[in-house]
């Protein structure tokens, strides 16, 4: 290629990619950089321009803030519980669908439906189903003997987090199911046949063929679910606003509340920056796993 051709190619690429670059720059990249920068200021929302540079003071306060440690704990519990529950549901349903059953397409669509509902609607339905007086889930749990009497799930500090976990798992298991279903279909059929010839039963085939076959999909999926649980804010905020008594306040929700409820912009940015740092570690692992799984496909 001649020099002018190379230049024309570069211009073409800039023409094609320029708008994305501009939009992402203004709405995502620049705010993130500014968010990190703000964490070194004592800015408050009403006096944005009057913030003063205070170095690492926000982070020093952060380390002694019991609410921050509470939030870290909530994030860890919420993340672990939703990942385990989502994965368990996703794998069970993927295994159910990965066999020849009649009307498989329609049944699969039924299983995907929770994913199609707007998050705030899912929140509203669950809030109604968990209503302390007339909630159908309360009735179900009492009938099944899980609880003695209807509970006020969303106004009790020890029950709100389980309720939010339940909602999250219901809404996001279809993603896990679809990814695992795609993974299951990549496990070579011959390996199952070989195992059957060796006389392996269903459970043994699952442990020795299915699980090893899903290894790389599993790791990527679980990292993705962890990342999602750290970043998730709409569902938790719409359900409980982080309450009652901060019992559902993950780092994402704490960042938001600190900024918009308590109007401490600089401090909120510090919380958000801590969240970003944790996210970066997991994102790095996520990208490395994706890179590594690529050549095999």
């Amino acid at each position: 290629m001649s020099l002018s051709q190379v230049r024309r190619q570069n211009l073409l690429q800039l023409w094609l990619l320029g708008p994305v670059g501009a939009v992402l720059m203004v709405i995502l990249i620049w705010p993130i950089l500014q968010g990190v920068a703000l964490s070194f200021y004592n800015t408050r929302i009403l006096t944005y321009s009057e913030g003063r540079f205070i170095g690492l003071a926000n982070f020093q306060v952060l380390l002694q803030d019991e609410y921050f440690w509470n939030s870290l704990q909530v994030t860890a519990i919420y993340g672990a519980a939703t990942v385990v529950l989502t994965y368990a549901l996703g794998l069970s349903f993927a295994l159910m669908l990965n066999r020849s059953i009649p009307a498989r397409g329609i049944i699969r669509t039924l299983f995907i439906l929770p994913w199609a509902i707007p998050e705030v609607v899912a929140v509203m339905i669950f809030a109604w189903m968990l209503d302390p007086q007339f909630g159908v889930l309360n009735y179900l749990f009492v009938t099944l003997g899980f609880i003695d009497r209807p509970l006020a799930w969303l106004s009790q500090a020890n029950l709100a987090l389980p309720a939010v976990v339940m909602l999250t798992a219901w809404q996001q298991f279809p993603l896990a199911m679809l990814i695992l279903l795609a993974g299951l279909q990549m496990v070579p059929r011959e390996e199952y046949e070989a195992a059957m010839i060796d006389g392996a039963g269903a459970l043994s085939r699952f442990i020795h063929v299915t699980l090893p076959g899903l290894r790389s999909v599993n790791i990527i999926l679980i990292l993705l679910l962890i990342l999602n649980s750290f970043r998730r804010v709409t569902m938790i905020y719409a359900m409980t606003k982080g309450g009652p008594a901060r019992s559902t306040e993950t780092l994402s929700v704490m960042t938001y509340n600190t900024a918009f409820e308590y109007q401490k912009i600089g401090y909120a940015a510090a919380v958000g920056t801590a969240l970003l740092a944790i996210l970066l570690v997991f994102s790095l692992a996520y990208f490395l796993m994706i890179m590594r799984s690529r050549p095999s496909s």
Binding site: L16, L17, P19, G21, I117, P118, L224, V253, F260
Partner: protein, 279 residues
């Protein structure tokens, strides 16, 4: 072989029944939303009844008459529609570049696009709130459209790139030999072939814009500019909470997104699942 089939048959039927039962549990919240929206006072009973007692559409009437739901519906339609158009148009060009060029520029953009999918929205909105006030975009539907577009673009580009990757390069090379410029070959030859992909991206970004709550809650202040997701959530904070009206509003809000979703779910599912498995 016949004995084998006879032996397995009951087990298979049992599995099918179990699968259907699970599907029933999974879609129950949907069912409950519809049932509750079609009742009024009769829904407040203990034990709850599975079928509506005296089905009525009163709640649907009430929410449109007594609430600003119509207004919010129009706002949501404007936001979702514009978001869909803008993000698709921008994504088309970007996805084509990422699909066809392997240069330092494109690998830089690939990195940025992957990276921005993982950023925490909670941290982004804090400075964005201030930036939007400075730019005069705060409390305007146009500002919300821009923000929504940016949040959807990475996914839209990635999805569309998958569709372009499947179209052989030879097709546009042929068109270029016939005298088209590369851009001309792309718009006239490749784009029509990628029509299913375009439909998927239009629908997907419409759904995302339609459902979006967090940005709308943060960047819009006045009630007459609210979108449905924000308006609906505000019902819950009220002193007299009418669950029937709320479920009716939920149905009105869910149906358009659901219809779009069912329309494209096959392609969307294939794209997302293979994207996650193969990277």
């Amino acid at each position: 072989m016949t004995t084998d089939r006879q032996k397995r048959s009951p087990l298979q039927i049992a599995m099918l029944v179990a699968t259907l039962a699970c599907a029933g549990v999974v879609v129950f919240p949907y069912y409950w939303m519809f049932v509750s929206s079609a009742e009024t006072a009769s829904m407040f009973s203990w034990p709850p009844h599975l079928l509506p007692d005296r089905p009525t559409l009163t709640s649907y009437w009430t929410i449109f008459k007594e609430r600003a739901l119509g207004r919010w519906f129009v706002n949501t339609l404007i936001v979702a529609g514009s978001t869909s158009i803008f993000s698709t148009v921008i994504a088309i060009n970007a996805a084509y570049a990422l699909s066809r060029f392997k240069t330092r520029i494109t690998s830089f953009f690939t990195l940025i696009i992957l990276f921005s999918q993982l950023l925490p929205a909670a941290l982004i909105v804090v400075p964005l709130f201030v930036i939007f006030q400075q730019l005069g975009l705060y409390n305007s539907l146009a500002g919300l459209v821009i923000a929504d577009t940016a949040f959807i673009l990475p996914v839209a580009i990635w999805l569309l790139k998958g569709f372009f990757d499947q179209i052989p390069v030879e097709i546009e090379q042929q068109a270029m030999i016939d005298g088209c410029s590369q851009l001309g070959a792309f718009y006239r030859v490749v784009l029509p072939l990628a029509l299913p992909g375009l439909v998927v991206v239009v629908a997907m970004s419409f759904i995302s814009g339609w459902d979006e709550f967090f940005l709308a809650r943060t960047l819009i202040a006045s009630q007459d500019k609210w979108v449905l997701s924000v308006g609906l959530t505000s019902f819950r904070g009220e002193y007299t909470l009418d669950w029937s009206q709320m479920m009716a509003a939920a149905v009105v809000f869910t149906l358009p997104a659901l219809v779009f979703f069912l329309f494209v779910q096959r392609y969307l599912v294939a794209g997302l699942a293979s994207g996650a498995v193969k990277g």
